[in-house]
Amino acid sequence: MPVYTIASLEKLTPEQTYKVSEAITDIHCDLTGAPTEFVNVIFMNGQSLANNKKVGVIGNVRSGGNRNRELTDELKHRIHEGVAEVLALSIEQLSMALVGVPASWGMEGGEILPEPGEEEAWLRRTKAS
């Protein structure tokens, strides 16, 4: 986690999918401090979106820890802008939502996910095992 899903009616080109995944990974990790290996980006095309949007982004992200409301709002805003920029779309042509999931409800690398902000110790443990 995070898992971002990108829905669109038209299939994005390989270059677009790579650049969107790169932008989301960069923004998410820059802002939250999460390691890049946590970030999953999944594309789904052929989807008719509400309100005539071209692209719909949903991120399921860890909640709690060092993530307050301001940081979550900033993350949502910057991902929204970043994906729009890569796809040369206006902000209005994209929908964007984030859903917070408690870290302790998930497991990766054989361990319960770390609380946001406690990734370093978690990575040391999982890489050592």
Binding site: M1, V3, K11, E22, N40, F43, Q47, V101, W105, E108
Partner: protein, 152 residues
Amino acid sequence: MKKSLITIQQGQFSAYQLKQLNTLIKQNYRHYVSSERLLITWMQIPQDQMYCDYKPSQSSIITIEAPDGFPQNKRVNMLKNTQDQWLSITNQVADNLMLTLIDSSLFSEIVASNQERLSLLGKLKMLKVILSSVLASMIRRSPILVNPNRGE
């Protein structure tokens, strides 16, 4: 009835492995979580449509609905045992497997956010895809497999 969404790459596992994994999740759900029926939907994503850490992904992502207020010690047991058994069937490494066991209220919120993203036509198309996948699964006695990439 509770639900589970499992995201994998298309062609990542054999039909036999998928059946084993489907059975594993259902058995563990019954053992660790609840006797309530669990409906598992497998989302198969083409390899070039899924990334992790800037690269095409090798990951499998398992999301399972649990009753609200599910005890954390039982959650950890379910996740740990399911992970170990999954890895022994697939030979994946633990870094390529993410499991979440999410309380029902939040699971519903996640499903709702995906629904709200779609237009009425989009919802109807998705419903048609899921219903035909359920029917195919009943006929073939196989897991429910859905490819959400319909513009392929």
